[in-house]
């Protein structure tokens, strides 16, 4: 069993950075949802805020690693034009576009994925900043609305990363980067 350098980068992009981001989301969401002074003691709030800072901080790094490795390392291999007479299996974009049954993976899937993915780090960093800036106050009833706004932004960051991750996996299945 041997992985090429391209396969290793593709796996790092999707299965390490991207998948770790998606997995960490659950921890962040639970932390945000339960951040209420009527549910948790002062020590509990301090512990939750610290955990949220770590979780969203790591998620911010992972989301940027995912989009940068995707855009600047993996995507150029995907979109490289095939020379005349080349084996299209080595040129995923051309391979997909050459088959009407598969072209939608590029014209819809990749075209959506490559753009929507970049919403995720922006939203994750916004959530990270709000947690750092407002900290334990977010547990107060007075800041209940802000807490829910952060939850919505966090859900959006996950949804955009989820769309990108799902299409990434499906496109890789249809036309792997070899």
């Amino acid at each position: 069993m041997v992985l090429t350098a391209r396969e290793i980068w593709t796996a790092l992009h999707g299965m390490v950075f991207g998948a770790a981001y998606l997995l960490a989301f659950t921890a962040g969401l639970v932390g945000l949802y339960s951040l209420r002074e009527s549910w948790v003691t002062g020590k509990g709030i301090a512990e939750r805020i610290m955990r949220l800072k770590w979780t969203t901080g790591i998620m911010s790094i992972l989301s940027f690693l995912t989009v940068f490795s995707g855009t600047y390392i993996v995507y150029p291999w995907y979109r490289a034009p095939a020379p005349e007479g080349a084996d299209l299996l080595e040129y995923p974009r051309n391979f997909l576009l050459a088959d009407p049954n598969l072209s939608g993976w590029h014209t819809f899937g990749m075209e959506w994925k490559e753009h929507i993915a970049w919403f995720s780090p922006i939203l994750t960093v916004a959530v990270l900043y709000l947690i750092f800036r407002y900290g334990p106050m977010l547990a107060q009833d007075k800041y209940k609305n802000l807490r829910w706004m952060i939850v919505v932004l966090f859900l959006l960051s996950f949804a955009t990363a989820g769309v990108a991750g799902l299409f990434g996996a499906l496109i890789t299945k249809a036309a792997p980067i070899l």
Binding site: Y75, V152, L156
Partner: protein, 110 residues
């Protein structure tokens, strides 16, 4: 009260949210713009192997960070209506997401 009681104005929160929306909308505008204008599409190629995606996302990130810097400087000590700021954020993000949705931007293709 368990949590700390000091208060922070809502301005920094509004700035962080709205600037995220501005970043998203910029990516959306550039994505549809690149379909409408061949010149813009070519100008967005900052890194040839990645094509115009490199410019769309670089300028999107720049718009997000720059607008955040400016809005935060303007609003850091102000108490703003967070509901209104959040609504604007969702509108900006929604427009950005629509403009990056292939059936929408491909409708502008010549």
């Amino acid at each position: 009260m368990n949590a700390q009681t000091k208060s922070i104005p809502s301005g920094p929160a509004a700035a962080a949210m709205i600037s995220a929306g501005i970043g998203g909308l910029t990516i959306g505008i550039l994505t549809t713009g690149a379909v409408l204008s061949e010149a813009l599409k070519n100008a967005l190629v900052l890194y040839t192997p990645a094509g115009p995606l490199s410019g769309k996302t670089t300028f999107g990130i720049a718009a997000w960070l720059l607008s955040w810097l400016i809005l935060n400087a303007l609003w850091k000590n102000k108490d703003l209506n967070l509901r209104s700021a959040f609504t604007w954020t969702l509108v900006l993000l929604g427009l950005g997401l629509l403009l990056t949705f292939p059936p929408i931007f491909e409708a502008f293709e010549a």
